[in-house]
């Protein structure tokens, strides 16, 4: 049964003299190869050179602090309930007297874990957060060989207090979100 009109009938015809010495064909092939030396390279030398990332790129999460260095997260659980992959778990604790400089509200997350193997980086946690605490950043989650290393706790998620340790979330945070 004929399926297309592109089929070619194989002919066993004698090769000509030029074809028999192969050299013109080899030269033709080499010309194509050499011409690629002078074309623009499609690859880059990662990690020395990085491609530009979209401002809304969804990479590794960060738990933000406010201007005074207090954690924004109050363990309200909305990110966890919004998460379609059920990657987020948390345990809440009550802020004690004297911890006012650490946590913004009277409740805070004593444990906050994201399973990066489960996470699908959809950004729904960021959308659900009423406290501007969780954001997805342009950082890429590091590879690993142990499954345990992909469960990110507060040590990896919360940004540092010092100005140079803050994680910039660019256009994501700020004025357009009212709270």
């Amino acid at each position: 049964m004929q399926l297309t009109n592109r089929s070619k009938v194989v002919v066993q015809k004698e090769m000509t003299m030029a074809e028999q010495i192969y050299l013109p064909a080899i030269f033709k092939g080499m010309m194509i190869t050499i011409s690629h030396f002078f074309k623009k390279k499609p690859t880059i030398n990662y990690p020395e050179v990085k491609r530009p990332i979209a401002p809304v790129y969804r990479g590794q999460h960060v738990l933000k602090r406010d201007e005074q260095g207090r954690e924004n997260c109050t363990a309200c659980g909305l990110c966890a309930v919004a998460c379609p992959a059920e990657a987020i778990t948390m345990t809440a604790a009550e802020r004690k007297r004297g911890e006012e400089s650490l946590y913004r509200e009277e409740k805070y997350a004593s444990v906050y874990e994201i399973n990066m193997l489960r996470c699908i980086f959809c950004g729904l946690c960021e959308e659900a957060c009423p406290k501007e605490a969780i954001f997805l950043t342009d950082r890429i989650v590091k590879v690993g060989t142990e499954r345990d290393t992909f469960i990110y706790g507060k040590d990896k998620l919360v940004e540092g207090i010092a100005a140079d340790q803050r994680i910039d979330v660019g256009k994501r945070g700020g004025a357009h979100r009212k709270f």
Binding site: V81, E94, E105, K107, P130
Partner: protein, 336 residues
């Protein structure tokens, strides 16, 4: 028996029934969708003299009665207004009434801190539901909200006076369910606050019920404080032999841990039976309880999130709603 029509749904009720009770009977009997029942923040069936404070249950009476068909000049609180024969009431069908109710909600929220992400009541809070369904998205209030310090009432109850809407339910509970009342409202007007006399501990066997009657997160269980969010817990009907109360409760589980014990609440948010403090606070082992099965949670509730067993119920709910809508449609045609 007087006949009353609420949003086009008619029912004959005994003399002296209030409009709110009549609409709840209609909804319980499945003759009217639940949404047409006026919301109530302060009225509580099991508490005498409750109701009349919050004004969220206002309805429009478009026809006073058969004898005097004039409409009532102003919205009336349905928890206090008794029905008259031939009365016609509008709730969801009157846009001006819904606007008035949005105004009531705005007033209730004037001093409310809206700290739902912190509050343990979030997810089962009547004020949250009320403002979501009947309120406006924003507030026009620009001044400082009144603030109070948190108070521990005994070692089991936490009082967040900031969140209180002064519905007086807990006061009436303390008055009518427990003996030797040590809990009431002090000061007046904007300064009014729920208080025990000089923070005196409540140690009555039934004092824990003030947590269940509180429509907001003002009175919360300290044994459950910040343990979990309600939508991560699994509510189960359970019972045990108790010589003080009926022993029929709802336990809120996380795995096999009993995080919280509350009374069972009906679809209007009222407890079916009071429970004692021993059941509520001290029986936190799964072995203390005989589990009857999962509680039925309305599918609109955040508590039913990620509970996939409710999908079967969803089908039943949708078919019921469809039937009711057809009834409503017929009623509309008859009216016009």
């Amino acid at each position: 028996m007087p006949k009353v029509t609420i949003d086009g749904f008619s029912i004959d009720v005994p003399e002296g029934t209030t409009i709110l009770q009549a609409s709840r009977i209609l909804a319980t009997e499945g003759k009217m969708p639940d949404a047409h029942v006026p919301p109530a923040m302060c009225y509580y069936t099991k508490l005498k003299t409750s109701g009349g404070y919050c004004r969220t249950c206002i309805v429009k009476v478009s026809k006073g009665s058969e004898k005097d068909p004039r409409p009532m000049p102003k919205p009336v609180p349905s928890c206090r207004q008794t029905v008259m024969d031939g009365m016609e009431v509008q709730n969801l069908t009157a846009p001006d009434l819904l606007e008035a109710r949005a105004g009531v909600v705005e007033f209730l929220l004037i001093n409310h801190p809206l700290d739902c992400p912190i509050c343990d009541q979030a997810g089962e809070c009547h004020l949250q539901d009320l403002s979501y369904e009947n309120g406006n998205a924003g507030t026009r209030y620009e001044f400082a909200r009144r603030t109070f310090d948190m108070i521990d009432i005994g070692d089991k109850i936490k009082l967040h006076m900031n969140r209180c809407i002064l519905c007086y339910r807990c006061v009436k509970t303390a008055e009518q369910i427990t003996d030797g009342r040590v809990h009431g409202v002090i000061s007046r007007g904007d300064h009014a606050e729920i208080s025990t006399y000089i923070e005196q501990a409540i140690d009555n066997d039934f004092s824990g019920n003030v947590i269940d009657v509180c429509p907001v997160g003002a009175l919360t269980d300290r044994t459950f404080r910040f343990k979990s969010r309600v939508w991560f817990t699994k509510p189960m009907d359970a019972h045990r032999k108790c010589d003080k109360c009926c022993g029929k409760t709802a336990v809120w589980l996380s795995g096999n841990d009993v995080l919280r014990v509350t009374a069972r609440k009906d679809k209007f948010g009222e407890v079916e039976d009071w429970i004692c403090n021993e059941c509520r606070y001290d029986k936190k082992q799964i072995g203390d309880w005989t589990i009857e099965g999962p509680r039925k949670i309305e599918r609109h509730s955040v508590i039913s999130q990620n509970h996939y067993e409710s999908l079967r119920q969803l089908k039943v709910d949708i078919s019921n709603q469809k039937k009711l809508l057809e009834v409503a449609h017929v009623a509309d045609i008859k009216q016009n």
